[in-house]
Symmetry: C2
Subunit: 357 residues, 2 copies
């Protein structure tokens, strides 16, 4: 990875700093009833985002949302509007339900984007439903066979961009090559990385190592090197945290396992560190002294820093967050969505694929 600004710092700055002006800009449509904790963290996050100058459409049961908004002092003066959606796809329901339940909050969000009334759709609700709704309503960018979930993992050099993090369990080699191009444009447009490096996740650094799929993808990526992507070659599991490359492409099965393992391991390890600091009187005393320093580390590992992951490759902006997202995650997701709109990300992606096909 080419040298970067410090990790959390960069994300924080880019997420918070030049917030688009509300006036004349499209609002972000937030699926405000989605997620494990319902409306509360969504509305709280929306209020925080609105205070930073981003206008938000809160989509969901209007009575519930107005009640929740009423808890935030001065919220009536913020650029927040409630859009009624009578239905919501619950976390335990089927993603395919989006086809028939047109009044579901996520469908209302993606339609607002489709109709040019919202900059982006953001949901902490049912991931599969969000993907399905975005795909059905917005369609794909020409030249992209399958949209992918693009996410960021904390790493030595700041963060590593990983895709697909779970949209496609079974893939073709061509998808991986398309994802490498999508992620390259994404980092260029949203993170100011001029020529990000791309690694292909495999089980050996040598070109011929890996599954049949990976060996085929290696050939496609090698051919694209210099023509829109900066292909580094194969990378291994250990390279993700080492920041060997800016981008790591893999199938959605492996990518989802990587994402969940990385988060799970961080949680367990930090728990063990806390345990060790409480194991005896001497450690407890030391623990008090190191507490502040370790807090920064925990924050660095916190998925809510990144807010949500973009479903990249659809013709419109759609962001998918953790069901367990807190207000900070919601706010960061809304700000990130506004920035992507501001930067004309979708148009830039379309142009990149048009130029080469």
């Amino acid at each position: 990875m080419t040298a970067e600004a410090p990790p959390t710092a960069q994300t924080q700055v880019t997420a918070q700093a030049p917030a688009p002006k509300a006036a004349g800009r499209l609002p972000v449509a937030l699926d405000a009833v989605g997620g494990d904790h319902g409306a509360a963290p969504n509305v709280d996050g929306a209020v925080q985002a609105a205070r930073s100058g981003v206008s938000v459409l809160l989509v969901g049961d209007r009575v519930k949302l107005h009640a929740e908004l009423g808890k935030h002092e001065g919220s009536s003066r913020l650029p927040i509007e409630v859009v009624d959606a009578p239905d919501v796809i619950g976390m335990e329901e089927h993603a395919s339900d989006v086809r028939s339940r047109t009044g579901a909050s996520i469908n209302v969000c993606t339609r607002l984007v489709k109709e040019g009334r919202a900059a982006a759709a953001v949901s902490m609700g049912h991931s599969g439903a969000t993907m399905a709704s975005a795909l059905l309503t917005l369609g794909r960018i020409r030249g992209v066979d399958r949209p992918a979930i693009l996410t960021h993992l904390p790493a030595q050099g700041g963060f590593t961009t990983l895709l697909d993090a779970g949209a496609n369990a079974d893939v073709k080699a061509a998808y991986l090559a398309q994802w490498a191009r999508l992620a390259t444009v994404y980092l260029r447009v949203l993170e100011d990385r001029e020529d990000p490096t791309v690694g292909l996740l495999s089980i050996g650094e040598e070109d011929h190592k890996g599954s049949a799929l990976v060996v085929e993808a290696h050939g496609l990526l090698r051919a694209l090197h210099g023509q829109g992507i900066n292909f580094y070659g194969n990378v291994e599991g250990r390279d993700i945290f080492r920041s060997t490359t800016d981008i790591v492409v893999t199938d959605g099965f492996t990518g989802n396992v990587v994402l969940k393992l990385a988060e799970g391991e961080a949680k367990v390890l930090l728990g063990w560190v806390k345990e060790a600091l409480n194991s005896n009187v001497k450690s407890k005393l030391g623990g008090l002294l190191v507490r502040d320093s370790l807090r920064g580390l925990a924050e660095r590992m916190d998925p809510s820093t990144y807010g949500a992951s973009i479903l990249i490759g659809v013709r419109g902006l759609a962001f998918i967050g953790h069901g367990s997202a807190d207000a900070r995650a919601v706010k960061n997701a809304v700000l990130r969505a506004a920035r992507a709109h501001e930067a004309n990300l979708v148009q830039r992606l379309e142009a990149a694929f048009q130029a080469s096909t």
Copy 2:
């Protein structure tokens, strides 16, 4: 995972405690010139293992090995013998070279096992060559299509047993079912776990979630539940460190990514903890107080605790370690190999597969 003795403790105890007597037992054949650091850590580890009562055949260049042995005082009185092997397959060479280079140290090791002159072959050298040599020389257990690398990852409940950690990048659903059975017998015989739980690595807990391969494997494992394995269902990446199940089965591509990611993340995270403890005077002072407690944690994460991974499913014992293995890893690998021989692991595996086919 059913409740266990504390993690490192258990492994340590089982690895070190009832060491088989040297007399009347077969020695362990160690590929003593394999690995990133050549003979030194191998001979050192062999000396430590021999001091615990396990006899060792040091296989490799006899002049080099005798010279290395000479550095260890009293080594001439230990149950260690040097077996000359003029050739060694280097870390950068091709695994397929084992076919023609019969004098290579790893081939000598597996032949010693085949001829009943050694209990097991252990190598920290070229993993691919070790697998190929073991497979070619020893063959497969009847009923096993593809041997797998079985490894242990530190986890909340002690450790999680993962396979395949990299022997087979492209697999069939039937392999996963066979590996679940092999791992079950392994834990029963070597770790005293009566009825270990088996999880199938996927990207959702629901039965129908995952790749086409995983959905098919789920059906096979479900059918085996109660007939030799204790199938829990699908598990996700986060479950590996949470110890949701004793065993996690997956294809060798995903398993290898998981193993290397887990090790790489632990290294980076512990590095960040150290950095945080050095970030200012207050933290430095605290760091001194917590140092001992954190050392235990670092040891818990150290792959050398487990020594080496078994190539399970071949008709004979073969263990594959890290190229970077230190003497402690070599010693633990040799002790583990001796224990597996002592417990008649291969015969027990064969019996389990015979009973059901």
